[in-house]
Subunit: 253 residues, 2 copies
């Protein structure tokens, strides 16, 4: 799953660095994709613990080797060395687009780099992204419907509490949803199970899980795009939910 | 937290081996205490994944080094070698009392050894136990009320789903409860936070968390002893809940 010696990931990062791409879905498919969160160092140990206690929605791949390091990472993947995580990296430029928050308020949206925002007090965290297992589903003949439709995956806030960690309290799981035939669910679970660093197997599936997760309207996701052609009266095609990155909802204030 | 070179843990295990003790609360206080679960090997990889995905209720400390091994363990604690986990161990005799299940049905209760039940197909798992952090609370002048009363900790089934792992689906968190003064909660959180291998800091606290966890009656725990002198009208002393080992409720059938 984690392949080195080939430069597809570096090529993708260089395209992001030079602002040639605005998203990474489908690029460098044999590499792990990551979400990026950057925090002031005073929140770093609590955020690390949040990931450690909630590995399904927050699978921590790597973090800055020390506060202020935007180029050297510490690996949190067993068996993967710090050096193998990424070469010739610059956290401040190598992501296609950034959102900048100040005390929880969005102050810059979709900007192409954060060279002026990064300080010696910042710590970067890379969290596994489900783009990584979608290629495996597609390869097995079970492409996620949203990719077939050229849309983003629908995501929902749920009532499942995240385990508290220091200043990070009161958070709940976010889940991503991909509809599948009931008959394919065990296969879908098996295919995504090995992807422990990128949310792994689903956390819930079936129409009855929608209410259990506290989702009021499956056609009104909280993040991502609306799911098309999904009908709660359809007993054959049902929603399947994976843990998803909690993103900027855990800002520790 | 994990101290070697002293034989209090071995002494305790030898007392259990020779049936001189029936519980371990308060014994070998500088060592990690563990819960034991033994499964047929066909469930081992799914159970390992269950622990990996739910580390707060199921913090995995160690497992049999291979199926059938009752004397050699593989460490799952970062930085702790296999050899440092336990010396001169026999899983079949070194626990004070065992419960034996056959296909989910209890067939032997509170027996003193399992030498006749253990086979080459069994895998033992050791899960962190909250007895480990209770000593730290007591040392800080915040003894858990149940220990002061000479009772077992009350435990409750909740509606918080465990993340599914292979055959282990549909499980929910069990929590243990210790009442504390509202003013002491941040101190209690800090004291137990470092105990990541034995459930760590609380997952919820306060009277409003009782309903949120789906607990119907705080005075009717599902496991352990009733909490005494706990009054929902008391706004000063409130329940504090920790993740707890899910025990025999996850038998993988």
């Amino acid at each position: 799953m984690f392949e080195s010696g080939n430069n597809a990931a570096l090529t993708t990062r260089l395209l992001a660095r030079t602002n040639k791409i605005t998203l990474t879905s489908g690029l460098a498919p044999k590499y792990l994709q990551a979400n990026l969160i950057i925090l002031p160092s005073r929140f770093a140990s609590d955020f690390l613990l949040l990931c450690q206690r909630n590995p399904v929605p927050c699978p921590l791949l790597a973090s800055s080797s020390k506060p202020g390091s935007a180029t050297a990472l510490k690996s949190h993947l067993p068996g993967i060395s710090d050096a193998a995580i990424a070469s010739a990296l610059d956290i401040c430029t190598d992501v296609p687009l950034y959102m900048v928050y100040d005390d929880g308020n969005l102050v810059k949206s979709h900007c192409s780099d954060i060279a002026n925002e990064w300080t010696d007090d910042h710590v970067a965290f890379l969290i596994g992204c489900s783009y990584s297992f979608e290629a495996a589903l597609t390869a097995a003949g079970l492409p996620p419907r949203h990719t077939a439709l050229g849309r983003n995956v629908p995501m929902y806030s749920t009532n499942i509490p995240l385990c508290a960690a220091g200043v990070f309290t009161g958070g709940t799981y976010v889940v991503s949803m991909r509809p599948y035939r009931k008959a394919d669910i065990e296969k879908v679970r098996e295919l995504t199970r090995p992807y422990v660093s990128t949310h792994g197997e689903p956390v819930a599936w079936g129409w009855d899980s929608v209410e259990r997760l506290g989702i009021k309207d499956i056609n009104a996701p909280d993040f991502g795009d609306k799911p098309l052609d999904l009908d709660a009266a359809d007993d054959e095609i049902v929603p399947v939910f994976w843990g998803a990155y909690v993103g900027d909802r855990c800002d520790g204030r």
